[in-house]
Amino acid sequence: MSAKAHGESSASTGERGVFPQQDDSRRQLEERGLLLGIDAVEDYAIILLDPEGRILTWNRGAQRIKGYEAHEIIGQHFSRLYPPDDVRSGQCDQELEFASREGRFEDEGWRLRKDGTRFWANVIITAVRDGERNLLGFVKVTRDLTERVKAEENARRLSAEKAAHAASEASLKATTFLARASEMLASTLDYESTLRAVARLVVPALADNCVVDFVDGDGTVRRVAEAAATPRNEALLRELRRFPPGPTRRSPALEVIGTGKTVYIPKFDSAALDNITAGDEYSEIVRQIAPRSSVSVPLRADGRTLGAITFGMAESGRSYGKTDIELAEELGRRGGAAIQNSLLFRVQIRATERTARLQRTTAALAEARTAEEAGRAVIEQAREAFAANTAAVYLVDKDGRDLRRLAAIGHLGEGTEPEFPLLPLSMDVPAARSVRDRRDYFLESREQVLERFSDARSVDSSGSVQATVNLALVVKGNAIGVLVLSFAVARRFSQEDRHFAEAMAQQCAQAIDRALLLERERKNAERSAFLARAGERFASSLDPEKVLQDLVQLVVPTFGDWCAVELVDGDSTRCLAVAHVDPDKVKFAWEVRRKYPPERHQDRGTFHVIDTGMPELYADIPAQLLEQAAKNEEHLELLRKLGMRSAALVPLWASGRTLGVISLYGAESGHAYDQGDIEFLMELAHRAALALERSRFLEAEQAARIEAERAAERLTEALRIREDFLAIAGHELKTPLSALLLHIQSLERAVRANMPLTKLDERLEKASHAGLRLENLINEMLDFSRIAAGRLRLEPETFELGALVRETVERFSEQAMRARAPISLQAPPDVVGVWDRLRIDQVLSNLIANAIKYGRGKPIDVSLAAEADEVVIRVVDRGIGIEPNQQKKIFDRFERAVGAREFGGFGLGLWISRQIVEASGGRIEVASTLGQGSTFTVRLPMQPKDHHD
């Protein structure tokens, strides 16, 4: 308040020295001021204040700085120069008080100019005292510091601006970096190599080193990139790859992956190091890298942590600020998004690829002509699409009991079979259950398989299948089979995988169904055509064996690898035809047949088929069954050589009876029979049987016809012989009859005419001779007739043969003498045996008569000899002889080596002789040289072998 009062009063005075009580002190002050030359000072406002604070002096500086003229302000309280707030707060009084007390007050602060503007002033107030320390007043020196402050502010602003600029530059740099990183991340779908490039981008701008870890689909964490400012550190970082993360190893990256939150380690002291490593080689490497601080940020997308990027500061000694961390996090987000994108894109690509694959599969399936081709096409595509180790298609067997492998590729290990050839449908394994339940099984690990399928262990004890896909092949609600993919390593199956697999299986099922239908149709057509051809071929064969040969040749190899036909033959069978696809093996078939013929009374096999007329089917012959069926090792060996994996035994059936059995076998070719084959083979066998029967009938007819022809020929021959015989007989009989009648009639005429009868006795003897000739001829005829009718009866008796021979020779001696062919005789006595005397006589007579007849008047030798158990009679002439080609025929009926007329007789003599000798158990033969004579030899056993007949 006093200041106000001062102000009022000072306003009323404007003159120097108006205050008389102050004149002295003013003076003193002015003096000092003058001394100091204050007035002229321009740079400083130097004013004198009385002890109350009233302005006493006003120099040029004050005028310049504060704007007041001296007269305007002198006498005023100096508070005029202060902003009102400072005045109200009593700052002016405090300043003076401070200065009066302390001698000097200094301050800087805002002051007012006359025009009301402010300036930044440096104020020094100094108390001025006289010699007695009485306060005279104050000297107030004010410097206008506004410019300096401005400059300072400027400088400050500049510096702030500079800082802001730097910040914005850093931000720009970060933005650029992010942009580049984003660009890189977006430019490729290979996020792994991109992440490596990003890591390289980070170092050394944002960090001294950088590593990127990635979480795979199965949850394993994998290092995908590392970069360091120095090659040494980078090498060390790479070394760390040798230590995959495990349950015992902790790291900021793993923590980030676990929590999805940034982990910032401002200072990497040994405690921090110990926290992530366990003092092993890994930790040693980390120590060599010597990290000082690190930031690990998640690679995140859609709330999932896909991995982590860790930035480390080492040798540069830099540390991380908030912005750095934010930048790192942003990089993490963008990286995550990029990865997500590329994953999605990969899925997209995979989907595209799979669509293409499905199309390819469709194309391949469209070309498949058989179920097997269809199956093969599908498994090839499926195996490739899923990178499966094996792929196989199984179809349900006709009997519905088993799954039979249709096609398979790949293997789960060297030398292992691609899936099983046959799998019982009843087993609790994924493939069988897939069919039974008509559903798909995607099993991602062996544990899953074992846990859910009780028989899985038994079919895969070695554990070669670590994952498997089993897709039921369903057509019109029926599971016809299963598509099986197996993997040697565990793997996951995404939703896309599953959809794709299902689509593939669906195509597969339809294609196989279609192919099976086509196959059946084709098979039926083929079989109809085949039956027609076979029927024609059979019909053209007139020979039953040819029919069967045709049958086996037709059947192999189209319907089997080998086959054999057995025909019923009384109580046994005869194997009539064998064929094998390998001609070298036919001999084994015959060998088996010879050594191990079909056996009766078995509950299966050839005779069973014959007895029941029912076919037998062995769709699959396991090695075990073959072993059981074999009689011994040799048999088994032969069966194995022939090959016997599948068999069909079909009756050759016609007219209600089984004529035989055709056995067909599938061997190496894998030919397997089913019920459909049996039906076809029955039809084929039936046709063959009909042809067989027909040809048998024709054969019998033919045989009958031939027999009839032969009989007719025989009859004709017999008739011809009879004609000839009758002609000969007529002539032969009429010749002696002529002689007889001429003699008798001539004599009779002479008697009637009373003519003298000359040579009466001679003529009667001639007539008698002719009569005897007639009798002989008649006897010969009767013998012939009897023998020809099989009525030759021998009447053996014991007699001395020598006597008979002598007697006979004796009887011919006169005739021989007439023919000038003397007969010599050698006959030992006592050759006794049992023969028909008259018949032996007849033989001898015939031979001797012939010798005389054909002996050309040369001596004839007759001899008898006893040798061991037989007697030998020889009649030797030296006559015309017999041509070699005639020698055998002379013993036949009506055969004569020379013309009949020359020698007379029927030509039956030798035939009759032969009949008698042979009936007596002996034989007759001739040795002759043309023109030199003949030797007839008769050998007779001592005892006739057969007394009767």
Partner: protein, 123 residues
Amino acid sequence: MTEPKGPVLVVDDDADVREAIRDTLEQEGYVAAEARDGGEALSYLRSNAAPSLILLDWNMAPMNAPQFMEEFANHPGSDDIPVVLLTADARVEQKAQGKGYVGFIKKPVKLQLLFDMLQRYCA
């Protein structure tokens, strides 16, 4: 009895028959000559006076009647020698028709028929 003309040549390969004919002829006052076949008959003809008649058997060996007749045709004066065929076969008569035979006599020989022939050609 008339003067015997030339002899009757009996050609037959059966001795019994030849003898029976010869005996019969001789009893009737004819002269008979014998030949065992066609060949012998030709020999006879070549070396003897022409017979008044030839009684020729059909079936003979080695030379039978037809063969003889062919040869005989070339024999000088054969036209003047009648040949009567003797045969046991009725069919032969047909075969021999027109082959130069003047007559046929069937065996067994009917005596009257023989004498008719003799009278016709040898009287």
